[in-house]
Subunit: 498 residues, 2 copies
């Protein structure tokens, strides 16, 4: 049941998404019960939801606290799917019949470039200062480098400042820290769905902060509109809905380029969302971890840091990391940029729990300052490879007659498989996902992103051609009813047997 389609998130597939209003009455002994006892307006229910990560929680360890059991549950539920994949991982030579992973959003196209660069002798510097207790905000030399880097690549109108930079071991940590210092227990952030599902845990596990969903759908309502379009009206409705349930909303999370849609917000849209937040005194957390993974040149990307004037700079907090744009999710480097000194300081105070090695800080500074390599080697080659991989998967989908969102950013394509569901339910979506997995290809289903419409899937394409080719072959087999599994129904109805 709780099998996980996304390695990077290890998010459970159903629990955090089971946001129905009756779930909200469950108690966690932290004041949520009382806050959430009001009855919601039924008309609004189509338009928003408030996540309740503990709705389906179950654990029996007598050694753990109640929150410890919830934390463990998140691991266990994720592990179940993860194990399936890792027990039978595809390997060209050793396990050619193993599972192809088109579910994890990692860029596997540039390890050759990265290995070469990171292995150069300038990367191994061992100075006493790097081995001693650091400034928990990050070493100054690195914060200076990050400020210069973001100034350049975000096209900021004025140079960004090192004192506004805080360094952490990844954006998961940054979500955790921001949730804790901005919200009380049980308060919430607005987030448009579908969204990168792991954020649910990041704000909840330590911070006990929830997400209030702004449900988007695929309907196109006018000439200027696109599927899953975020509008200020929808933001207003969701905010009102959450409030009607007694949930206090403290901020808005925006992912740009968006995961899983691949959408990019125009400067005008961005401005509107920021004005909305300002009107309601909401913090805005801008997740820009894919900002350098815009591979179509025709697509103009606009970082929030490029805006001439932020509507509410004291409540605008930007996150970036090397995990996606430099294909190094295992390196654990993320950064916050905020003009709000109080927020920067409070996050820094938590950085003793999110610190990264001085040696890695040195390496990251070396990497970020090497503009020749970034501009002339890494980015052009990375973009060319992403573009080629994207083109290949797009053409395969077209050949199959499958609709999808054609975008030019990120590592994934948001694919519409609704016509393959006998009924429009999440149970059918899950069954289809299992058919893919049984046919040895791992994808991510829409429910994991809190998508409102059953039948959407995220296809990650940032992988080597031979793996993509094999993965798409297996997808085709399932959709054409030719997979091994389709001929063997019993294994479908018995997930426990896998």
């Amino acid at each position: 049941m709780f099998t996980l389609p996304q390695e990077e998130s290890r998010a459970p597939t159903t629990c955090p998404g089971s946001a129905s209003t009756q779930d909200l009455s469950s108690s966690y002994g932290d004041g949520l019960e009382e806050e959430c006892s009001r009855k919601p307006d039924q008309k609004l229910l189509e338009l928003y939801g408030v996540g309740n990560p503990i709705a389906m929680f179950f654990s029996d360890s007598s050694y753990l606290s109640s929150r410890g059991r919830i934390i463990k549950w998140f691991w266990d539920s994720a592990e179940e799917g993860y194990r399936t994949y890792h027990m039978d991982e595809y390997d060209e030579d050793k396990n050619p019949c193993g599972i192809i992973n088109l579910g994890t959003s990692e860029n596997k196209l540039c390890f050759d470039l990265l290995s070469r660069r990171l292995s150069q002798s300038d990367m191994l510097q061992v100075e006493p200062s790097l081995l001693q207790y650091p400034d928990w905000r990050g070493h100054l030399f690195l914060r200076e480098e990050v400020a210069r880097f973001l100034s350049f690549y975000c096209k900021s109108p004025a140079p960004l400042k090192p004192e506004n930079v805080v360094i952490l071991n990844g954006c998961a940590s940054l979500f955790s820290a921001l949730a804790t210092v901005l919200c009380e227990v049980g308060e919430a952030f607005l987030i448009p769905t579908p969204y990168y599902g792991a954020i649910t845990q990041h704000v909840y596990l330590y911070g006990n902060v929830r997400l209030a969903y702004v449900y988007l759908d695929s309907k196109v309502t006018g000439p200027d509109s696109r599927p899953f379009q975020l509008t200020v009206e929808k933001l207003e409705m969701a905010l009102q809905g959450a409030r009607s349930e007694g949930v206090k909303v403290k901020g808005l999370i925006l992912i740009n380029p968006q995961n899983p849609l691949g959408d990019i917000y125009s400067p005008g849209e961005l401005q509107e969302y920021l004005e909305f937040a300002k009107r309601h005194k909401l913090h805005v957390i801008m997740d820009e971890v894919y900002m350098l993974s815009v591979f179509e040149e025709s697509v103009g990307y606009c970082s929030v840091l490029s805006l001439e004037r932020l509507p509410d700079p004291q409540r605008t907090h930007v996150m970036w990391a090397t995990s996606k744009d430099f294909g190094m999710s295992g390196l654990r480097f993320g950064t916050l940029y905020t003009e709000n000194k109080d927020v920067a300081t409070a996050v820094a105070s938590l950085c003793r729990y999110h610190g990264l090695s001085g040696l890695v800080q040195y390496q990251m500074a070396q990497l970020l300052r090497d503009r020749d390599w970034i501009n002339q080697v890494y980015l052009p080659e990375n973009h060319a490879r992403l573009r080629a991989a994207h083109t290949y998967v797009s053409e395969e989908l077209r050949a199959l007659g499958i609709p999808f969102l054609k975008r030019g950013a990120g590592f994934f394509i948001w694919v519409d498989l609704r016509k393959y569901l006998p009924k429009s339910t999440f149970e059918e979506e899950m069954l289809l996902w299992r058919r893919f997995l049984d046919n040895k290809v791992l994808l991510s289903f829409g429910k994991a992103f809190e998508c409102k419409e059953p039948g959407w899937f995220r296809f990650v394409f940032s992988d080597k051609a031979h793996r993509l080719c094999l993965g798409m072959q297996r997808v085709r087999q399932v959709l054409e009813g030719k997979s091994q599994v389709a001929e063997d129904p019993p294994s479908l109805s018995d997930p426990g047997a896998r």
Copy 2:
């Protein structure tokens, strides 16, 4: 007021220690108020206390949550003292009149050995698997190496198992994670005082867990007793005392070798403490981060992992790190060893917020497996240098007629300066500490370790001879009333002027 004597802890000097019973009635809106409203038995008050980290909290940021303001306060209060030191840091060439730091417990004696080892070519390995999302418990190759390492150096009766190992970015994170998964909000761990003060924050900032003090004192009560001796009787009294105030105690934290005392628990003592914990179903967190820093060969150290039979293995959790024993506090590597699968899994689930780079994991595995270097180069040389530095500071103290605890482990000496206080108060202790700082030597005062008796100081000796020599000269000047400050009383009474 909130100046910090310990860089490594950045603990505020007064706030977490101000554990008087009236503080307990302050509210944090998380249920503590109700829990703590019972009146304590006055007779017990000498023997225990329950820390209340928010007793002196103050902040005015409207952007932060109430917990965010507390978190920021911890940073600000620590920064005040930290800034004083860092604005005027001693440098042999550039700032010979700067402040000598005998306050931070770091080993600065072996950077030459470490730099040489960590700069070898085997340390820079960049494989795709190290750049991808890791197993959040730590890469298997590293957990295997840690299990072998601990089996050998802790002298475990049977080989330790990689599946019981969880890797994190330091023991601060481990305290945070364990507090969260073992305790509910407002529950407590017992801890004998004096203790490494930063633990207060580690269990509180994310976890909202408090410490219940077992107050030890310097009185020697019999032939088998030593100053600040921990006994089961004292543990029982403190547990009873905390319970009488309605505080639920979930575990016991033991530091061995002890910081700041330098004490080592005998196998018999260890067994008694563990039996006490078992009787009360308390978890035991054994902090053994100084286990390889026992520099006197005559001192027999016994890791809890060396015991033939743990009284309650499911509730015994061991932490170790490279920060102290390998003098690399900036490297951010720590590890948990526990046989309890639920605890290991719950901590692992939080590891996405405490992860360390795959490249560093590789380096640590290389380091820990290099037994030739560890046994033939690093440990003998490190111990010889620690011994020499310890001898030097001990002799200086003896020449000054100052009592201190002579121990053979750790980086510090616990020094009795009570006779230099005109009155036996913590205000006088603070004034003396300021006189040292004004005379450009940074020490740690007893209150920061929640010591019950005013007048004790921690002297860190693990530094180069010329710095120790200058530091001790400056100490002597203050104690003999010959410091610049002693001749200039106004600056004493006006700390704001510094």
